[in-house]
């Protein structure tokens, strides 16, 4: 397998854009990524478009606005892991020699309100009102509080940290800090998850240009960012809660590193408690210690491992198809030293993680 590098990243700021179509969001992100990479459209050999519900042939609609060059275009849906899955597919296609240069874009326009899971209208889950994504994380929170003493304040501190980081991120939807008191006093969605612990519903897009290491020098002299680990997993019977553990184990093994080597991580914090649970399963801290790590500031930008320096899903937002790609964009900017006020010092190894309804998880490891 050849080395694969990311040579371009571009993003459309997250927010509410009722007058913009998904093309209006995705196209500028693509053009920015191509410009960042110095790659002309004629050299792009394949394209990937990750989204959940933007409609048939969305990728073709976007790429067609750049140029009609007949290349293979793949639309990728994998719940909240769609963007990460697109990265995984593009990575393997280049690593195996199928293509030298690929563009990928993740995007979504989100509806307002409580998001459901995967279940269709006729299903038992829909009938029973189980189709409530915050409820699933709320159940995990209650279990952790019962077994490990995780507290509501510790969970709220994750929301506070990520809003603080998001305020430094020009692409974030929410750029306003919050306090622990405000988070806990906001409307209860599903005990113990309150509104300000939930990511906002946002529109947005993010794009990347990937290439085989050996061709990158034709286009750019920016610092090379390598994809060293890439995994996608689904549920294993009887062990539904360990998708993150398994996905990260595969990625760590591929990259030849362990959790202690990671300088920064963009982790799936659609609900603030998720960040704590995922940090434990990613191996950053021992099981049950995630709350204490937050109390001790060990996941701040200046901490032992910067978790969600971008502000995460909590403040950037979670346009479903965009998130996995946006996380890798942040990793690229951090590893190149281009993250401005959010810059993690001496960033050399980054991890990204998404987890989606239906038992999907994807982890990437990037390094300079």
């Amino acid at each position: 397998m050849r080395n694969v590098t990311i040579i371009g990243a571009g993003m459309h700021k997250c927010g509410r854009y009722p007058d913009k179509s998904y093309v209006d969001l995705a196209l500028p992100a693509c053009l920015d990524a191509l410009d960042d990479a110095g790659v002309p459209w004629k050299d792009v050999q394949s394209a990937y478009a990750s989204h959940i519900s933007q409609g048939v042939s969305a990728g073709q609609a976007i790429m067609g606005q750049i140029g009609l060059t007949g290349i293979p275009i793949y639309n990728v849906e994998n719940a909240c892991c769609a963007g990460s899955t697109a990265v995984n597919l593009a990575f393997h296609a280049i690593a195996s020699g199928q293509y030298d240069v690929a563009l990928l874009v993740g995007f979504e326009k989100m509806k307002k309100g409580v998001i459901g899971g995967i279940f269709d209208e006729m299903s038992l889950e829909e009938n029973l009102g189980l189709n409530v994504m915050p409820a699933l994380y709320a159940m995990l929170a209650n279990s952790h509080m019962h077994h490990y003493g995780l507290t509501q304040e510790q969970i709220a501190k994750v929301a506070v940290k990520n809003h603080k980081n998001g305020a430094l991120n020009p692409h974030a939807h929410i750029r306003k800090e919050v306090t622990v008191e405000e988070v806990l006093a906001s409307r209860m969605i599903a005990d113990p998850i309150t509104l300000l612990q939930c990511c906002p519903t946002s529109d947005g897009a993010a794009a990347l240009v990937l290439c085989a290491e050996e061709v990158g020098g034709r286009y750019t002299s920016k610092r090379k960012v390598f994809i060293r680990g890439s995994s996608v997993v689904s549920e294993l019977c009887g062990r539904e809660n360990d998708v993150t553990t398994r996905a990260s184990a595969k990625a760590y093994e591929m990259a030849g590193i362990g959790p202690k080597d990671v300088d920064l991580a963009e982790v799936h914090d659609a609900f603030a408690v998720g960040e704590i649970l995922h940090c434990e399963h990613l191996g950053f801290c021992p099981e049950g210690e995630g709350g204490r790590w937050v109390d001790e500031g060990r996941t701040e930008i200046t901490g032992e491992i910067a978790v969600n320096p971008s502000g995460g899903l909590q403040s950037r937002g979670h346009p479903l198809g965009m998130t996995g790609v946006a996380q890798v964009c942040e990793a690229v900017w951090q590893l190149r030293g281009e993250a401005g006020a959010r810059q993690v010092a001496d960033a050399r190894v980054a991890l990204t993680h998404t987890q989606g309804a239906g038992g999907v998880c994807s982890v990437h490891i990037l390094a300079v």
Partner: protein, 139 residues
């Protein structure tokens, strides 16, 4: 007024009138499932046998939903419990009859049938739910 199950073949009542969940068992590896399914999630063997499932289980975790999705037409708030039945299958449904202040994780529950909603003709749509087992249940 007629009672109609929300879906066929999920549950029945036994001779004593108690609710019984209906599921599948794998003849190869013995794993049990709810709801019933065609092939085994663990070993992928096809042709699973029908079986009645345990009537009691333990609450693994729970939440109280206070903001439901637009498609939910019932009352809010409602308590969802994640239950592991005594013979293995895990499932979620509503917990009825408990107070919000009740401590739930680890508690024993039993399966009951209860109204989910009324249909357009006024019939009761019935579904399986859970109640805290009286006196700690049969364990």
């Amino acid at each position: 007024m007629i009672q109609i199950p929300v879906k066929e073949r999920l549950f029945k009542t036994d001779a004593g009138g108690r609710a019984v969940l209906m599921g599948s068992v794998c003849p190869a590896c013995g794993t049990r499932f709810f709801p019933a399914r065609g092939s085994c999630a663990k070993c992928a063997k096809r042709g699973l046998a029908q079986t009645d499932l345990a009537r009691e289980g333990e609450i693994v975790t729970y939440t109280i939903v206070r903001q439901a999705p637009a498609t939910w037409k019932g009352e809010v708030p409602y308590t969802i419990v994640w239950v592991k039945l005594d013979d293995g299958p895990e499932l979620m449904s509503h917990l009825i009859g408990a107070r919000e202040s009740d401590s739930l994780i680890g508690r024993r529950v039993e399966v009951v049938l209860d109204k989910l909603r009324n249909d357009a003709d006024g019939n009761e749509i019935v579904v399986h739910k859970f109640k805290l087992a009286p006196n700690g249940g049969n364990r």
